[in-house]
Amino acid sequence: MKKKTYVIFEHTADIGIRVSGSNLKDLFKNAGLAIFELSSEKISNQDKSHKEISIQQKADNLEELFLNWLNEVLSLSAAKGVIFESFKFKRLDEKNLQAVGVGSSITNYKVNTEIKAATYHQLKIKKNKSGWQAEVILDV
């Protein structure tokens, strides 16, 4: 069975997620995938085409980079009509990110929850014994 990489925590109006990863790339990847797993379920495989979209972000610090990353994948998903199914990182440090997202057509999915954006409110990223953990509140 696939190991659960995130849990939901309670927020009155929105959704909070606590994500973990064995390293920074893993954390970013898991958080990116979590927002699509939360919002949508695959219902068909009719459109077999896959779109590769390159994603680049710069920020002043790690928290900002993490938030920009989540908002960029949400925004690209809505604008390009894809649901991301995997991410590969070419580069990731505290201030820069270069990645490729592979997405399947949104028509293969049923989107149950519209996630508008990720927010800075109570955003936390920390390194712990087993790797990295982040908490972020998503506006739904």
């Binding site: 939901i8 309670e10 927020h11 009155t12 109006a13 929105d14 959704i15 919002s39 002043d60 900002e64 920009n68 908002n71 925004s75 809505a78 604008a79 009509g81 949104i106 049923k110 989107v111 149950n112 929850t113 519209e114 508008k116 954006a117 927010t119 800075y120 409110h121 109570q122 955003l123 509140i137 506006d139 739904v140």
Partner: protein, 483 residues
């Protein structure tokens, strides 16, 4: 939990967070609630957020919270903050939210409940089929790239020019459906891309279209003026600026996080990122936010047009003959520049309403002639199982920068609501109350179950008793379309 905050009681409906609660607060917090609602308010972190908003540079009088307040991100939902533009007052995209000009419109009809009850099922299906709803839903109302820029400036007027309404509809819309100062150049290409094809779509989450019946009159004279009576059918449409608005907000939060250092602004939460209204960043955000506001007014105008078409189909009559006239359309997520007298001086304030409704009093210059005597119609939706309200603005509301509540306000998280709600039981319960529901997703229904919300009757009671708006009539839902 906000239990550590000690509130000072001012009267039965007003409670203060003193400035001394947190170093950095520039003004006190002022919460409109009664003891019953306060119990819910204490359950989450909304009061802490009221205190955080009081840090904003240039904030005037109080950081305000309406009785439907709950925990948001940055601002609480139900928060109001006015900043003095000439005194370095700031504008914060987080004080408007991602769904810019999320708002509500109320349409009257000449139909009575007896006229629709046997056709309710057909009507609900016609509305569900005619009005695109659901996440990322796309509409039949297509807008070319060139037209989209025009739409962002003209707002609901664009829709009327396409034949989706009348001049009278515009008169009954806040800002006549188009706020001036919209700057399409301040909008990113991505926002255009996200907004494309979503005009005339309802969206999902708490957005809805409801067929309602008036079940209580509070002010017979005002009801007469609005042409409303017991048993009469009304329609409520709740939607916003869709993906276009989310992207505008995101772009400018990203930008304004850097303004905190640049303008030496100290706020306890980066989601309160802001810039002086008069700074280049502040002006650009205002220009882009106004585009999104106009997008939302065009969207709700298109949604009303589609609603009128569905009614015409079911009742084989024109919408004019059915008396389907707009009462009013008002935003509840927006920042507006408005004039107020502060210490004897007229000031231009930037009023943020984040889950709060503008409520102008009788004779306010911004009101159309038809509402000069009544005051501005204020539309308050409740949850899908209880009630909604029509109120009017009052002079007393100058203390809240003419603002009031915007809805029932959530009390239970979406996950908690999903865990505790059985969809079949919910639908049976609604059916027993004579409410028919059609939704594009099961998830939305359980997340939006009535038990997830405060009782709108309690919320409206507070704003009425506190005098910051006045009850006109109450509606109950009979047909609900959800995204």
């Amino acid at each position: 939990m906000s239990e550590q905050i000690h509130l000072e009681k001012i009267d039965d409906y007003r409670w203060r967070i003193p400035k001394s609660y947190k170093p950095g607060m520039r003004v006190p917090g002022l919460i409109y609630a009664d003891e019953k609602l306060l119990k819910d308010i204490y359950q989450d972190k909304a009061l802490e957020q009221v205190a955080n908003v009081a840090f904003l540079p240039g904030i005037v009088d109080n950081s305000l919270a309406m009785p439907d307040i709950h925990w948001g991100y940055g601002f609480p939902i139900g928060g109001v903050a006015a900043t003095d533009i000439e005194e370095g007052g700031v504008i914060s995209p987080g004080g408007v939210g991602f769904d810019i000009n999320c708002g509500i419109r109320l349409v009257r009809t000449d139909l009575r409940y007896e006229d629709i009850k046997d056709k309710l099922s057909d009507l609900v299906y016609a509305l569900f089929n005619g009005v695109p709803a659901g996440v990322g839903s796309k509409g039949d109302i297509r807008v070319s790239a060139r037209e989209e820029k025009e739409l962002l400036v003209k707002g609901a007027k664009w829709a009327v020019e396409q034949g989706y309404g009348t001049q009278e509809d515009l008169e009954c819309t806040e800002e006549n459906g188009a706020i001036s100062g919209a700057d399409p150049e301040a909008v990113s290409q991505r926002a255009y891309e996200r907004g494309k094809a979503q005009s005339g779509t309802l969206g999902s989450g708490n957005h809805f279209l409801e067929v309602q019946v008036i079940d209580q009159l509070f002010d017979a004279e005002l009801c007469d003026t609005f042409g409303l009576d017991l048993g009469q059918v009304t329609i409520m449409i709740h939607s916003g600026s869709r993906g276009f608005g989310y992207q505008v907000c995101e772009d400018y939060v990203k930008n304004m996080v850097h303004c905190l250092n640049k303008y030496n602004i100290n706020v306890p939460d980066r989601q309160l990122a802001c810039a002086p209204v008069n700074s280049p960043e502040g002006k650009m955000y205002l220009g882009a936010m106004r585009c999104a506001a106009n997008y939302a007014w065009a969207n709700r105008q298109c949604l009303m047009h589609l609603t009128r078409l569905a009614f015409e189909k079911i009742f084989a009559s024109s919408w004019q003959k059915l008396g389907m006239f707009l009462i009013y359309d008002v935003a509840h997520n927006i920042a507006k520049v408005e004039k107020y007298e502060i210490n004897g001086k007229e000031k231009n304030l930037c009023v943020h309403r984040k889950g709060a409704t503008r409520a102008f009093p009788p004779n306010h210059p911004a009101l159309p002639e038809r509402y000069k005597k009544t005051g501005q119609p204020v539309i308050i939706p409740g949850d899908m199982g209880r009630n909604s309200y029509l109120l009017v603005g009052t002079e007393k509301a100058v203390e809240t920068f003419y603002s009031t509540c915007h809805g029932a306000g959530r009390v239970k998280s979406r996950t908690a609501s999903t865990k505790s709600t059985n969809l079949n039981v919910l639908l049976k319960d609604l059916e027993s109350k004579g409410i028919m529901v059609k939704a594009s997703g099961r998830a939305t229904l359980v997340e939006e179950a009535p038990s997830a919300y405060k009782d709108v009757n309690d919320v409206v009671n507070v704003v009425h008793r506190a005098g910051i708006s006045k009850r006109v009539c109450r509606m109950r839902p009979v047909g609900v379309i959800k995204g």
